[in-house]
């Protein structure tokens, strides 16, 4: 019976799953999951409040990147994103796949030096990377069927995500690195250095560039191997 009682705390995980599935605001979901788990875990309401307080106080390091906002804001005020767009536009004469592979590299490198917010889906993928990749494919193969267009756009979004996720951890002051040191240093009373963690993100970053870059370059092959004639045949069969 006591065993079953302790297993009850796993209900907190269920609250998170159900909350996200119901598309509720993530802050509400996470807050509710914390309260439910704390109460089921045997904390009094007052102790739950204290847990939120100490949790907030000891995790302030995760949000400290806000200190960069005034200078980034100042630079954006004077056209940092426009300049980033001009840099991306220099690669516009490549094939679709090679262009997206270069975008992946650019996204990864900028994230690795802490400029994860300069490129992004709203800032550069929609206005730049996706249209340029489509234009490159059109230059090579003529007008694109809707399906192919969707495929190129999806890969443009994927280049941004892969570059960002596996680039940002190489930068030592990013939220996820600080979360690791914050959690481990408070829970296990050790002293882990963000720099060591960031270095260990490098092997996977290299793999990500190789794997996704290769898949993006192969996108060209699948476009030209199929060719407009093949698209027509496929459409006719369907």
């Amino acid at each position: 019976m006591r065993k079953a009682g302790r297993m009850l705390v796993l209900l907190g995980v269920l609250v998170v799953v159900a909350g996200f599935a119901a598309r509720r605001n993530p802050l509400l979901v996470v807050g509710a999951a914390g309260i439910v788990t704390g109460l089921l875990g045997g904390l009094t309401p007052r102790e739950v409040l204290a847990a939120f307080g100490t949790g907030f106080a000891s995790s302030r390091g995760v949000t400290i990147f806000a200190v960069t906002l005034p200078v980034i804001g100042l630079l954006e005020h004077h056209g940092l994103q426009e300049q980033a767009r001009r840099v991306v536009a220099r690669f516009a004469s490549l094939t679709a796949g090679r262009f997206l592979a270069l975008y992946l590299l650019l996204r990864q490198v900028t994230s690795a030096v802490g400029l994860g917010g300069v490129l992004g889906h709203a800032q550069t993928v929609r206005p730049l990377a996706a249209p340029m990749a489509e234009a490159a494919a059109e230059r090579a193969h003529g007008p694109l069927p809707a399906k192919v267009r969707e495929r190129i756009r999806s890969f443009a979004a994927s280049a941004d995500n892969v570059g960002f996720f596996f680039g940002e951890d190489v930068f030592l002051a990013v939220g996820s690195i600080l979360l690791i040191t914050g959690f481990v240093n408070t829970t296990y009373h050790t002293r882990l250095e963000p720099l060591d963690l960031a270095l260990w993100a490098v092997p996977t970053a290299v793999c990500a560039l190789a794997v996704h870059g290769w898949r993006l370059v192969r996108l060209d092959g699948s476009l030209s191997a199929a060719g407009p004639a093949a698209w027509d045949r496929k459409a006719a069969v369907k």
């Binding site: 802050l27 409040l49 004077h78 979360l179 408070t186 720099l195």
Partner: protein
């Protein structure tokens, strides 16, 4: 000695100044809620100093956090209208300053790295110049202040209100999402104290045959992957799987290299982020932005990469970390 808490106060002060700006911004339809949210966050940053070293009760801060959660969760925060003529000014700025715009931006990581590697060893007045163990956070803070000075001089900007207003507008566009990582870290701590990690460990040890380090690596990485798919975020998965397998089995029993185990474990979670619709801002929002008919288009494009990289993470961890 330069202390980490000074920069927590600097960030708290920034939030308070920006909250005051929001309060007077009539273009924001929910200016009172927004100002209250960021004002509480700013106060919490300062008050948190005394909570962290147990000199003040944590309950008021906890109550403030729950108020912030409700304000944002029930849509009581909003954002102001961007200033007019912004697009022309940005295009003119890019034309005028060109690549020089990247210089202040790159100053931040350069200074952060210099602090983490170099200044760490500098002593001043009988103690280390930078508080021990906080060199990276301090580097980020010092780097931002230096970069702001470089940027103001380089762009010939005289008014300090320009970066403050521009920074506030960035803050408003991030909105409540800014608080989510901290709240997820808090949830992780509550999960840990309520014993969720222990329960997951009991379930995993029941499945896990004892003694195999390779299988433990697989369970940690695949567990991070699956938990991230469910929770939509590696941050929430990390404390649970680390308390269950990563720390007790891989670091303590197998004497693994802790930074390598934990960094690669987190990256295994990121593979999960690539394939889950729960991570809406990365996978569903771009599909909408790009006007895709198939809202799972980006996930489908990422699926093979995610699984190959999960395999890479397992290999890296097994070969180099344990």
């Amino acid at each position: 000695m330069i202390e980490a808490e000074w920069f927590h106060w600097l960030v708290g002060g920034l939030f308070l100044v920006m909250a005051a700006q929001m309060l007077t911004d009539r273009t924001n339809p929910r200016r009172y809620g927004s100002a209250l949210f960021w004002g509480l966050l700013g106060l919490g940053f300062v008050y948190g100093t005394w909570v962290a070293d147990h000199r003040a009760p944590a309950e008021p801060l906890g109550a403030a956090v729950l108020v912030m959660v409700c304000l944002a969760g029930f849509g009581r925060t909003g954002r102001g209208a961007p200033p007019e003529g912004a697009a022309e000014r940005r295009a003119a700025g890019a034309e005028r300053f060109g690549g020089r715009l990247f210089v202040p931006a790159l100053t931040i990581p350069a200074v952060a790295l210099a602090c983490a590697v170099g200044l760490k060893r500098v002593h001043w007045g009988g103690g280390p110049l930078l508080q021990k163990g906080s060199e990276t956070v301090l580097g980020l803070g010092i780097g931002s202040v230096v970069a702001l000075a470089v940027g103001m001089v380089m762009l010939r900007e005289r008014r300090i209100s320009t970066p403050l207003h521009a920074g506030r507008s960035l803050l408003e566009s991030m909105g409540w999402a800014m608080l989510l990582p901290q709240l997820l870290a808090t949830l992780g701590a509550i999960f840990a104290s309520a014993g969720v990690g222990d329960q997951v460990r009991r379930v995993t040890t029941a499945v896990l045959p004892g003694g195999s380090v390779f299988l433990a690596v697989v369970v940690y990485c695949v567990g991070m992957f699956l938990f991230t798919v469910v929770m939509g975020n590696g941050f929430a998965a990390f404390p649970v799987m680390t308390a269950a397998v990563g720390w007790p089995v891989l670091v303590e029993q197998a004497h693994g290299n802790a930074p390598a185990v934990l960094a690669v474990g987190m990256l295994a979670g990121f593979c999960g982020t690539l394939v889950t619709p729960m991570a809406a801002n990365y996978n569903l929002v771009p599909a909408a932005l790009l006007e895709l008919k198939d809202q799972y288009g980006p996930i489908k494009a990422q699926l093979p990469t995610a699984f190959i990289l999960l395999g890479c993470n397992i290999s890296v961890m097994f070969l180099f970390a344990v």
